[in-house]
């Protein structure tokens, strides 16, 4: 180890010597480059030509975060030796008010043309220091940040010497760029006064209601025939034991009635173009085979269209399982999920419809049924969008040891919700599927597929299973006298308001808590009873619990269509598939795509209160650009140096944002950039064979200067 270190210091020494030889040449280089940058007419170059750069360097201690592993004094002394550096300083916290004042004062006193702060990641404090640079009287884009915390101090905590050398490198590179930075002015674009919400579960509905209440036209897109989502499948909600439908349906009705909400059920987002303020979204209206009243009127059928009378349903000869009831209740090929659907419109399942036409006859004069209907496409323009695509249950049959789909009396929690729900397939009488008997002993398996690192299953906590399993236990005590419940758990996570109190209450009602994860479940073939095997870790004895019904609190995972939808909107996801927020703590509703927000469980498992909070947060965030009416775009767009452009057009196809086009100018073809669409990714700039594309703030001379500074050094 020691030998290695010696070798590396020797290397740096050698490098330094080399650099000294080349130093005179190097000093000229930036001047040359600056001259070059003046060449393209469209490229803005400010502070006049030939102004010698004057750079100020500010090194942050960040308490001991940086100072603990980097020799600040050494870096400062080194910075002073770099070309164009006329001022170097350090401070405990540069981001503090006195720290920022050091920047503004130095700009004025030293007549700086550029600033460099060596501190944390630009993601954290770039805006802070840009503002400070602006307050000092410079263009904010004349600031460059050197990350010596996340990418240095924190990862090289035990090697102060090497970390200090690395910090010097980072400062040298940043100075090289800062001496070539130019004034840039952010563009503003107008924002369409409309929003889109994708997914009409409780998150999407709440977000749409908030946006509509704020006076914003909102398109609410739902892939299934009715709004309501998962919450409409639940019987009761914890810890208040409100009937889920009872608190949800008023909101569903509000959504249906709101003049500002354009409800588009049985629709998919087909494509998304544009950028914040101006998203052009194409929506596929899937053929539901049934005309709503306005649609019928538009077709000239006076007084026609589906009024939800249900005359079609009894005559339909096709019977299929109803997915809303988890397949435990039949539906016809023309169906509604349940009586409270919004909108009250029947839908035809084309996969099972035999087109016998009986429903058409039954519908009669209303002429609401169109068996030849095709998908239609609708284009809408919105300023911002919220994704609220929700969740599905993890296919828990993959954990074969628990026997779901093998043993009849092993059900999932969502099936339990339907079985205990008064409007469910059994009218709320909990039965076991094998024989329709009322179960007298019920086992609840918590963490079924959650907190599982074994490959099959999900590593995360699904976050609401503990609480709904407590609620399930309460529901059976309420409905079945003399019932016994056993909750097999690892930890009871009752963290919300009134949740721990609810846990207390359910234990008081008689629920037995067995601290041990269920190892496996076996069925007695004669009785169809189930034997649950686990370790009662508190008793320190293995358990063989014979029960009548097992409820698996299955893990949740992103909804099946989430991945397709997120890609359309350019939203990233984490390794487990949940949509990635802009910042997990400070920007949980935003995404890295400006103007696109996320709400509810699609960001990560949430119970109903958290989902509603998240939806209201997303709605608030999504309404800000709309109310402001315009947004500022980072001026990082590409520019065409027309003298150099050969009009080959190769960049046009490479652009992932369709921001480039070939246009005729002075009798020849040149490329033109739609600045608002350009995200400054640099794909075109890196490719252009003629070097005719100038990437603002990441221009070739700036990047070359950084690379040169790194490899060749640059000390005076």
């Amino acid at each position: 180890m020691a030998e290695k270190k010696k070798a590396s210091t020797k290397k740096t020494e050698a490098k330094k010597q080399e650099v000294k030889h080349e130093a005179p040449v190097k000093q000229e280089a930036p001047v040359k480059m600056e001259a070059k940058t003046q060449a393209p007419a469209k490229v803005p170059v400010t502070t006049g030509p030939k102004v010698k750069p004057r750079i100020g360097v500010f090194i942050c201690h960040c308490g001991t975060n940086i100072a603990g592993s980097i020799d600040i004094k050494a870096v400062e002394a080194y910075a002073k030796t770099l070309p164009y550096v006329v001022h170097a300083d350090n401070y405990q916290y540069i981001c503090s008010t006195p720290g920022q004042k050091k920047i503004t004062d130095a700009i004025k006193e030293q007549k700086l043309t550029g600033t460099v702060v060596a501190a944390c990641s630009p993601r954290l404090h770039e805006p802070t220091f840009r503002t400070a640079t602006k307050e000092g009287g410079l263009n904010p884009f004349r600031f460059e940040m050197a990350n010596i915390r996340e990418q240095n101090a924190w990862v090289h905590m035990h090697d102060k010497e090497a970390a200090t050398e690395k910090a010097k490198d980072a400062v040298r590179i940043a100075v090289a760029k800062a001496s070539l930075l130019q004034d840039l002015t952010p563009k503003t674009v107008s924002v369409e006064k409309a929003a889109m919400v994708v997914g009409a579960g409780i998150a999407g509905m709440q977000a749409a209601l908030d946006l509509a209440a704020a006076g914003i036209k909102t398109y609410l897109i739902e892939k299934s025939p009715s709004i309501g989502g998962r919450m409409s499948q639940l019987d009761k909600t914890f810890p208040t034991l409100d009937c889920s439908q009872c608190i949800l349906t008023p909101k569903m009705v509000d959504v249906g009635r709101s003049p500002n909400i354009e409800l588009m059920t049985y629709c998919d987002v087909e494509s998304v173009e544009g950028f914040i303020g101006n998203f052009d979204v194409t929506i596929r209206k899937k053929a539901r085979g049934v005309l709503s009243m306005p649609e019928a009127e538009a077709k000239g059928i006076v007084g026609g269209g589906c009024n939800g009378c249900g005359d079609c349903e009894p005559v339909c000869p096709v019977i299929k399982p109803n997915p809303f009831e988890m397949g435990m209740k039949p539906r016809k090929a023309i169906y509604i999920y349940h009586p409270q659907v919004v909108p009250l419109l029947y839908t035809i399942d084309w996969d099972s419809c035999v087109k016998c036409g009986l429903c058409v006859t039954a519908c009669g004069e209303k002429k609401a049924i169109d068996l030849e209907q095709k998908d239609e496409f609708v284009k809408v323009k919105v300023g911002t969008a919220i994704l609220a695509t929700g969740f599905d249950l993890f296919p828990i049959e993959k954990k074969t040891e628990w026997g779901y789909k093998t043993y009849e009396n092993v059900v999932t929690s969502l099936e339990f919700e339907r079985l205990i729900c008064a409007s469910g397939p059994t009218s709320g009488h909990l039965i076991r599927p094998s024989d329709g008997e009322t179960p007298k002993r019920v086992a609840f398996v918590l963490c079924a597929g959650s907190r599982d690192n074994a490959g099959i299953g999900k590593p995360y906590c699904s976050r609401f299973c503990c609480m709904y399993s407590l609620k399930h236990a309460h529901q059976i005590y309420e409905k079945i006298p003399g019932v016994a419940s056993y909750l097999f758990y690892m930890d009871i996570r009752s963290f919300g308001k009134m949740y721990e109190e609810f846990y207390y209450r359910i234990q008081d009602e008689g629920a037995k808590f067995i601290r041990g994860r269920v190892a496996n479940i076996l069925e007695d073939p004669a009785t169809k009873n189930l034997h649950v095997y686990a370790d009662d870790t508190l008793l320190n004895r293995p358990v063989d619990m014979e029960v009548d019904l097992v409820v698996l609190a299955a893990a949740v995972q992103p909804g099946w269509d989430t991945d397709r939808t997120r890609k359309l909107f350019g939203v990233s996801c984490s390794s487990d598939g949940w949509l990635l927020e802009a910042h997990p703590k400070l920007n949980p509703c935003g995404t890295t795509t400006a103007g696109v927000f996320i709400a509810g469980v699609c960001q990560g498992p949430k119970d109903i209160p958290d989902t509603v909070s998240s939806a209201e947060g997303a709605a608030s965030a999504a309404s800000i650009p709309i109310h402001k009416g315009e947004v500022e775009l980072e001026p990082y767009f590409a520019m065409c140096i027309e003298e150099k452009c050969a009009g080959c057009g190769m960049c046009v196809n490479l652009c992932p944002y369709s921001a480039l086009a070939l246009v005729e100018k002075d009798g020849r073809k040149v490329m033109e950039v739609t600045e608002a669409k350009c995200k400054g990714c640099g794909t075109c700039g890196g490719f252009c064979p003629g070097g005719a594309i100038w990437m603002n703030h990441f221009a070739t001379p700036q990047i070359v200067a950084q690379i040169d500074a790194f490899f060749l050094g640059g000390e005076r």
Partner: protein, 193 residues
Amino acid sequence: MVRKKGYPEALEKKLHDQRYYREDSNPEFLPKVKAISRTIAHMCFQCGTCTGSCPSAPRSTYRIRHFMRRAVLGLENEALTDPDLWLCTTCYSCTDRCPRDIAPTDVIMAMRNLAFKRDIIPVNFLKTVQAIYSSGHGVPNNDVNRAARERLGLTRDPPTTHMYPEYVKGIQKILDHYKLKANADRIVKEREG
């Protein structure tokens, strides 16, 4: 460290301080177990899936979860001197089902290795070593099995060292390299005279 109060020996034993003291832990134990078992033993969160899956646990005092806990806390003496250590059948059910993707069976194997280094091992395991040394089989073939094999249309002996006894030498060479046989003979002699 157990505190002694100076009671008569019987009472001292009865009122023995059973609390866990940090000094009871050997910080080297967990890294040793992990190195031998090649599994992430420190990640156990005591859910009990292992003991719940264990065919040995319902009929004995063997608790694999208990051994995992001792590994995490570094309770080397307690783990290695517990006779339950030798009750694992190595069925690997716990390894199949562990939600933390740990191989508890391999942790037990590692502990057995460490115990053997301290001559802690039941005699029957040593007799298995001796059987392998002489025949190449832990459970050598016998006449009952030979008859059963014949009924099934198989050769009287399986195509192993039983059929090719000349290869027993190779097995002996391996066991000798690790001094397994010599140690087994020594310990059996010490115990049984």
